[in-house]
Each structure stands twice: as C-alpha cells, then as structure tokens.
C-alpha cells in the first residue's frame, strides 16, 4: 500500500516540522497547508478533472492553443474628462501596442444622467469620460476604425444605450453591426451587490439584458453581450471563492432569465463572458481561474443542457486588483501588478488590464499607464510564463486548491439556489452581507498585523507627498454643459420627442425588445439622460437594501 507508507511519512514529517515551527507562530495559521503531496489529490482523474485545453471541462483553458497562438488581448481601461481627451489617450495606447480598447465612463454616464443634471455636479469627467449623446461618442472613436478594433465598455444599467450609440457610430464609419467586436459589461446584479451604479429595479433590468442578448444574437453576432463580473465583488472585499461563486450565481440568473424570455440557450450562451480580479496570492488566483472554468462548464452543460461546446466556455477578461494598490510607496505597486499579471496569465485569461502604480492616489498619468502596459508585454515576451499551456497543472497544491475552491463555489451556489437564486439573494442582502464580513475580517487582520501589507503596516518610511498626479480639468463639467446646450439647440427636437415617445410606449409592453427603439432615439441625438429618463419613468428606480 503505497498510500499507507506515504500517509505514515506525512505524519512523521508533520510531527517533525510542527516542533520546529513553534518558533514561527505568525506563519502558523495561513489559509493553506504547508505542504501538498499526492495524498491531497487522491482520486485525481486527468481526463475527467482537466482534459485538454479547449475541451470540457476547460480547466486548462478555453482555447486549444492558448498563448502559443495569440497572447491575451492587452486592454487598458481608460477614459476621463471629455470625449476629445479620451480619444487622444486611446490613440496613444493603440500606438503603444495595446490590442483592444476599454472605455471608462464617468459616474453620471454610468447612472444615466446628463452632464447638466444637477445631480452630476462635481462628477462630470472624473472617473471616466462623459458621454451625453451620440455626438460625444462620434468624437470618442474619431479616427479609430471600429471594424478593426475590439472595444469593451464598462457600462451596466444604461448598457443598451451605449451599445446603441456604438452601433450608430460604426454605421457612420461604414462598418456594419455584424462586423463589430467588443463587450458591454451589462451585469446589473453585481451593481446591486457590490459596485453601486444601478438605476432600475431587478425585473426591468433583467428585461433590458435579455433584450440585448436577443438583439445581438441576430444583429451583432460577435458582440459579448455581458461581462459577468466578479472583479467588483472581490474589490468590495470578498474571498477568491466568493468572487467566482457569487458571479457564477449571477450568471445562472441571467441564463435563467433569458431562457424564461423564450431564448434558446445555445443562441446566446456563447456570447456570455466573465470578468475576474487578479489578486495578490498568485497561486490561489491561478486555482480560482481554473476552478471557475470547470464550474461554469458543468453549469452550462449539466444544469442548462447547452449542447454547443462554445456555450460551456468561461471566457474571461481580467483586471489586477485595484484595492491592493497602496498609496504608500506607490512604486511598489509596479511589483504587485507584475505578480498579479503572472497570476492572470498562468490562470489563462483572454484579456487583461493592468493597473497603474498611482491609482490609489488618482487616475493614472500617461507614463504610469505605459509602465502598466509594458508589464504585460514583459510577461508575454520575456518571462516564459505564456510559453506553455496551463503550466501549473498537475501540481499537488494547484490541483488540490482548484478542487477546494470549486467545492466552496458549489456550496455557495447551492445556498443561493435555496434562497431562490441570485436576484432574491441580493434583494435579501445575503450576498452583500457575506462580502462585508470578508472585507471587515481582512481589515482587522491588517490592523492586527496578522496580514502584512508592505509599506502600510510594516516597512513604512517617511514619505513626501507624491507629485505629478493626473488632475481632471475642473472645467470639464462646464464644457459638457455647453456642448449639450448647443446640441439641444441644433438637433431635430420633433424627431427626438417622437422617438422618445415610441420608446416609452415600447417600454410599457414587457414583450417588446427595446433595442431598436433605443437605437432610433440615439440616432436622432436624444441624450443618454433623456433615454434613461423615459425608462426611469416607466420602470421606476431601485431602492438599495442597506445593512451593516
């Protein structure tokens, strides 16, 4: 009995080291065992648990070739101030070798308000670019060929409106909708649970999402209609297992809603995409990526009966963890981001945003964004980490950890099913509460120095204030207001009124797909705030569940 011998040897090892490790109590209670052996992967079945890259359950990656073909898409999330300023930044990033665009919108845009709405005061152009109408969108993509570039847009509650604007800009460039590549985030459930830019209540929000699934499956077939996001759940403080569990539970809710609306699962499932966080613990993150692919493949095949392999694949964009950047000794963040990049690449991401060193302090400068992009390029071209597909497979630790995270994930999914699914779990505040608990635990561990953050609770130095941070010009709000006043004076206001009325009528009928009506409205330069205003009137607004 080889295993019996091994078990005895393991016991002897444990007894031996526990004695000598008594000197290091602070390293005693880490989350993972100190050593992994074949005992931790008993019953491991290569074909069943891993199989080959590009094959069910996709543990080793969604494509057969992974980075031996193409590297991941290097996609830096960017956007600030006006469409003019952001267009310049996009063109700079493309010149520097970035391979896809990723648009950050300001908060008024994300919550469906125009820049001249009183509630937008102070927020215009701050965390992203201000988009009020198709006119801004035309400037944002000026001289960028939408037939060639793929564009990801971090937009959720008003995703349909921004997608419509993108389709309209492409049409003006002479690019047909079926030639467009890109992603809208369009993931409202995590907005309620963790990110906060919701507008409408869950039911009409889910309708808008399924309307987009349906419209795109027929008209924009290469578009990723949703990016089901764990990133923000993790940023809000969740653990790795919670990140993928709550996100996959959200994914189940979207698939359920679309099937209930009459769609065939294989018609839309291949365009669902995901968004993970690349956090500090490199190997735990690798296991998380692998576990998430395995869970989603089983969910789609076994729970929803999807027949196309494409429907089983969890394709993922990744961003390094913003909340792990420190305001103290910000140069250290370059190292953190490099390690997080390694995690994302070893985990097999399809695209990646790397954060800049100064983002705990402000939006990044052009120089720091370049370092962040170069970090990806160094990992891709120099490190060798991208040379072999899923290179950590077969490691006792990685496989045991992948199994463990998968198991935790299933336990949460079961619990959420029992509560009535992700929508109900969020309405009851369950998911928020779980995230808050983890966030508080993390903070207490840092304050009690059970968790060391270099430069924050150990290895501090006396620092001078950081200079040369980026500042968004305070006049952006006024500039957008002026642009809006000009637009409202110049456009065909009768047409705007007519299209908004048609949208309002369509919104009242639950069976109507709203995408064509939104497209009609944005094409006559109805503003984002006007379109969302009509929908607010019909749908009402979400009231958040707050508990501490």
């Amino acid at each position: 009995m080889a295993n019996e011998t091994l078990k005895a040897k393991m016991q002897a090892y444990t007894a031996k080291v526990e004695k000598s490790l008594e000197k290091f109590p602070e390293r005693k209670n880490l989350a993972h065992n100190r050593l992994y052996t074949p005992l931790d992967v008993e019953g491991f079945d290569y074909e069943r648990d891993l199989s080959f890259p590009g094959e069910f359950p996709f543990t080793r990656g969604v494509q057969p070739t992974m980075y031996r073909g193409r590297f991941w898409t290097m996609r830096q999330y960017a956007g600030f101030a006006t469409a003019e300023e952001s267009n310049k930044r996009y063109r700079y990033l493309l010149e520097q070798g970035q391979t896809g665009l990723s648009c950050a919108f300001d908060l008024p845009t994300q919550i469906g308000y125009d820049s001249d709405d009183p509630i937008s005061e102070g927020e215009v152009g701050k965390v992203g670019v201000a988009i009020d109408s198709l006119a801004d969108m035309e400037i944002l993509f000026d001289s960028i060929d939408l037939g060639k570039v793929s564009t990801s847009m971090t937009i959720n509650a008003p995703a349909a409106v921004l997608l419509a604007m993108y389709i309209a800009v492409a049409e003006k460039q002479g690019v047909a909708a079926d030639q467009l590549n890109g992603t809208i985030q369009n993931d409202i459930l995590k907005e309620y649970a963790a990110r906060g830019t919701y507008i409408f209540p869950p039911k009409p929000s889910m309708r808008l999402i399924t309307n987009i699934f349906e419209y795109c499956s027929k008209n924009v077939p290469n578009w990723n209609t949703i990016s089901i996001s764990g990133y923000h759940i993790r940023e809000a403080g969740s653990t790795a297992a919670q990140e993928i569990a709550f996100t996959i539970a959200d994914g189940i809710a979207y698939v359920d809603a679309a099937i209930k609306a009459g769609l065939n699962v294989d018609d839309f499932a291949g365009r669902l995409s995901f968004f993970w966080n690349a956090h500090n613990n490199v190997l735990e993150e690798v296991a998380k990526f692998r576990a998430s692919r395995r869970v989603w493949a089983k969910v789609m095949k076994e729970r929803f009966g999807a027949a196309k392999p494409k429907s089983w694949m969890l394709r993922v964009h990744t961003q390094t963890a913003g909340s792990m950047l420190t305001a103290q000794q910000p140069e250290n963040n370059i190292v953190r981001v490099a390690l997080q990049t390694a995690a994302a690449v070893l985990g097999g991401t399809q695209s990646l945003h790397t954060n800049s060193k100064d983002e705990a302090l402000a939006l990044p400068t052009e120089d720091s964004v370049r370092i962040a992009l170069r970090t990806q390029q160094i990992v891709a071209y120099e490190s060798g980490l991208a040379d072999v597909v899923d290179p950590l497979a077969g490691s006792y630790y990685i496989e045991a950890l992948t199994n463990k995270i998968e198991e935790e994930c299933w336990n949460y999914i079961k619990k959420i099913d029992e509560l009535g699914g992700a929508v109900v779990a969020i309405e009851k505040g369950y998911i928020q509460k779980e995230i808050q608990e983890s966030a508080y635990k993390w903070q207490m561990e840092v304050e009690q120095k059970q968790r060391i953050i270099v430069g924050v609770n150990q290895f501090q130095i006396k620092e001078k204030p950081v200079e040369g941070l980026m500042r968004v010009d305070a006049s952006v709000g006024e500039m957008q207001k002026k642009k809006l006043a000009d637009l409202r004076a110049k456009r065909d206001n009768a047409a705007v009124k007519e299209k908004l009325a048609a949208l309002e009528n369509a919104a009242k009928d639950e069976k109507t797909n709203l995408m064509p009506f939104i497209l009609d409205a944005v094409k006559v330069y109805a503003t984002l705030g006007e379109v969302c205003g009509v929908l607010r009137k019909v749908f009402g607004e979400y009231e958040a569940h707050v508990s501490l």
Partner: protein, 130 residues
C-alpha cells in the same frame, strides 16, 4: 453614563465604492459609537438633513470618485446653515494630498486616505468631538 457619540457615515455623490464606508461604519460601531449609514448616492442636502434629523455629533463622508472638492465643502456649509456648528466633519477616500489643505480650510476636520487604520479614525473622533 456619558452620552454615546452618534456618527452619520455618508456616501455623497454618485460613487458606488462603499467597502471603506461600511468597514469604517462597523469599526466605529464596534468602538461603541452609534452609527447610522446613509447608503449610496446621497446629495449634500440629504446628508445635512439626515444629520439634523438623527442629531449626530459626527458626519463621516467617504468618496472615491474625485468629486470631494465640490461635495465635502457643500455638506459643511449646509450643516452650518442648519445651525449645526458643533458637528465634527471628517472625510476619507481616494483624495490627493494636495487637496487636503483646501478641504480643511473648508471645515473638514480631518481627511483619512487609503491605508489608514480604523483605530486612528476612532481615536481622532474621540479626541475631537464636541
């Protein structure tokens, strides 16, 4: 028995990042304060009104969107207009060092930037509340 310190933890503006606000709220509660959390997307008027209704000693605002220079001073002024001159106003979030003197001049007693232990916030409030 001494009256417990009442704190309104508030999220002004459109920012949805509430990890910090919630962690601070809970830490203040664990430190023995009475804590009211407003939830997201509060206008300065709503925050000032809630402070008055809840009769708080402290208003603690968190903002990560960059709108602090507009919104924090607005809350301070509205509190004064409502006669709440004794309320201690503090802020936190992603706030560049360069903005802190201006915020203090506008009446924000202290600004807590990323990495601040919650214990420091508790101590500051205890020593400065009126």
């Amino acid at each position: 028995m001494e009256k417990r310190i009442r704190v309104l933890v508030a999220k002004p503006g459109l920012d949805g990042h509430d990890r910090g606000a919630k962690v601070v709220a809970r830490a203040l509660r664990d430190a023995g304060f009475e804590v009211i959390y407003t939830g997201l997307r509060q206008t300065p008027e709503q925050i000032a009104e809630a402070s008055l209704q809840e009769d708080v000693n402290v208003v603690a605002m968190s903002l990560l969107s960059g709108a602090h220079n507009t919104l924090f001073p607005k809350v301070v002024n509205l509190l004064k207009e409502k006669g709440m001159n004794d309320v201690l106003v503090v802020g936190g979030g992603v706030i560049p060092d360069a903005d802190i003197p201006g915020l203090k001049q506008a009446g924000v007693a202290e600004v807590f930037t990323p990495g601040t232990p919650t214990a420091n916030i508790v101590d500051f409030i205890k020593s400065n509340v009126k």
